[in-house]
């Protein structure tokens, strides 16, 4: 994003941070540099009582400064507390402990289902993904926040080849039938835009366009028909104070330089 005072990753972090509320508890897995920066940003702005858990490390409220690549890194253990991983998994199953669960996938479909398992048929995969780890817990979280650094039609597909991180499943009926404790996916953050989900159809909906991005560009890079409201606002740019915090938390650009 040459010419801008901020990187796209920083904008994405701001979008996520603004979505988090005070007193909430968030959790994230591997490759979560942007969500981690977002959580620290939220804590330093409007959500001082936000708690977050950095994946497999079990660290509760890692102080970062500096943010590092691996969510399991010992650097995260400069924190408020540390849980053994089985305790984190226990809390993920509870259904009322985590307000926000950050997820993602090689594929993400129109109902917010994620796939980290494979492209193609599981028995004869075109590409074997790494595996789904904790994404099956998504339906037990208050809200799922989905993010990806690649917004294209290969990632955003009509239907995931393998559902490893459930969103609204096959749509509103199948979701309602489950009667799950969480509200399902609530926000999707990409390098092009922010998206949420239509309340009735549960289909992904354009929420705001990042500065300089056209709605056609989003539609072209999405492999299914998005809900696109008549008026789509522009994602507010990072404020100077947001940027100052992000750069203190991430001085080496671990998150900043991702996109």
């Amino acid at each position: 994003m040459s010419g801008k005072a901020y990187s796209t990753a920083e904008l994405m972090a701001c979008v996520m941070a603004r979505h988090l509320r005070d007193r909430e508890v968030a959790v994230m897995g591997a490759v979560s540099m942007i969500p981690m920066a977002a959580c620290r940003l939220a804590q330093e702005t409007h959500a001082p009582n936000l708690s977050y858990i950095a994946g497999g490390s079990g660290a509760v409220n890692p102080h970062l400064e500096p943010l590092v690549f691996s969510s399991c890194d010992a650097e995260n253990l400069r924190a408020d507390a540390v849980l053994a991983l089985p305790d984190v998994i226990l809390l993920e199953g509870h259904g009322k402990r985590f307000d926000v669960f950050f997820g993602g996938g090689l594929q993400i479909d129109k109902y917010g289902n994620c796939n980290l398992v494979c492209i193609g048929d599981w028995h004869h995969p075109v590409l074997k993904g790494p595996g789904t780890v904790g994404l099956p817990f998504l339906p037990r979280a208050g809200r799922a926040v989905i993010y990806t650094t690649s917004h294209n039609a290969r990632t955003f597909v009509e239907k995931v080849d393998f559902n490893s991180g459930p969103g609204f499943l096959d749509g509103p009926e199948s979701w309602a039938r489950q009667g799950l404790p969480g509200q399902g996916p609530s926000l999707v953050v990409t390098p092009l835009c922010a998206l949420d989900f239509d309340e009735i159809s549960k289909v992904m909906r354009l929420k705001s366009l990042h500065p300089g991005v056209r709605r056609e560009q989003v539609a072209e890079n999405t492999g299914f028909e998005l809900v696109i409201p008549v008026e789509v606002p522009v994602t507010p740019e990072p404020t100077p104070s947001e940027l100052a915090i992000l750069r203190r938390v991430d001085p080496t650009g671990v998150a900043r330089n991702l996109v």
Partner: protein
């Protein structure tokens, strides 16, 4: 009578405690941290056959190297990858070419399974909603269903996991196998509790471990441990929490080497097969290892 010390060399530990055909081998460590690489390299050196490899919820080079250089029939895992460095080359190739049987599961299947294995529990039922993904469809042998006797509802279950052998890295242990994790435990302590036999590699043997840290911090009891191997920098190229960080450059060398069978063969010769484990650190270079410093946690 004297108490028996369990300290031995890496070659003796693997020779004595990993059968030539190992029914199920669990390897500790998560992502690029606390992988028991000294033990794993020795398993490859001694050409052990592994019927089932079992990983933590997120495996890395611990599983990928065994898939590339060892003999693994099937793998029970929820993730093999290199986090921000990309996909796991040997895992991906082996699965796509079907040279390994993949028992794909999710993180709770492993965590619940180790719990059940450790506790003699016949299974663990999943929280509602975790049956809404597709994993149970491809794995009806692993994932099953039964009735919740309190509600009458059908619930999905995870099977107990009892590895024949677990290879685990702890930062420090005493000579009797009482040991301590100085950073994150990941699922390594669970693996210790679930496995029939446990081989520990440690950065340092500390004879007065409980006195030094307080017994309440020593949460691996020696009676679960069969062998203790002192292997400084034994997690390289992964990190050992609080001791050193991972060697990203070496991991990239590894990933590059995995691109062809020839270069993988060269890698294996240079770092595994062509030397005893005790020579590994010298091959990597002591100065290089000493530079893998962490900023340090507040311990």
């Amino acid at each position: 009578m004297e108490r028996t010390r369990k300290v031995m060399s890496v070659s003796e530990a693997i020779r004595r405690f990993v059968p030539d055909r190992c029914e199920s081998l669990a390897v500790g460590g998560m992502h690029m941290h606390n992988n028991p690489m000294a033990l794993i390299r020795e398993v490859i050196r001694q050409d052990k056959k592994i019927k089932r490899l079992i990983t933590s919820p997120s495996a890395d080079i611990n599983a990928d190297l065994l898939l590339g250089g060892g003999s693994v029939e099937e793998i029970l895992t929820a993730y093999v990858g290199f986090e921000h460095l990309g996909l796991a080359p040997n895992f991906r190739r082996a699965v796509e070419k079907k040279t390994v049987k993949l028992l794909e599961c999710d993180e709770p299947f492993l965590v619940y399974g180790f719990q059940a294995g450790a506790g003699g529990l016949p299974f663990i039922p999943y929280p509602k909603g975790l049956e809404s993904n597709d994993l149970h469809k491809i794995n009806p042998e692993l994932y099953r269903f039964t009735t919740d006797p309190y509600t009458g509802e059908q619930v999905m279950t995870a099977a107990p996991i009892k590895p024949s052998v677990a290879l685990i890295h702890c930062q420090e242990a005493d000579p009797y196998g009482n040991a301590i994790f100085k950073g994150s435990e990941f699922t390594d302590r669970q693996m210790i509790f679930a496995a029939e036999t446990v081989v520990l590699q440690v950065e340092k043997i500390v004879p007065n471990l409980a006195e030094r840290y307080g017994a309440t911090r020593v949460n691996v009891p020696g009676f679960l441990v069969s062998a203790v191997v002192e292997a400084p920098y034994g997690c390289h190229p992964t990190s050992s929490h609080t001791y050193y960080t991972y060697d990203e450059d070496h991991l990239k060398v590894y990933l590059k080497a995995c691109k062809s069978p020839e270069s993988l063969g060269e890698y294996l010769h240079q770092y595994v097969l062509g030397m005893a484990e005790e020579e590994y650190a010298v091959e990597i270079g002591l100065e290089r290892l000493q530079n893998l410093t962490t900023r340090g946690v507040s311990e």
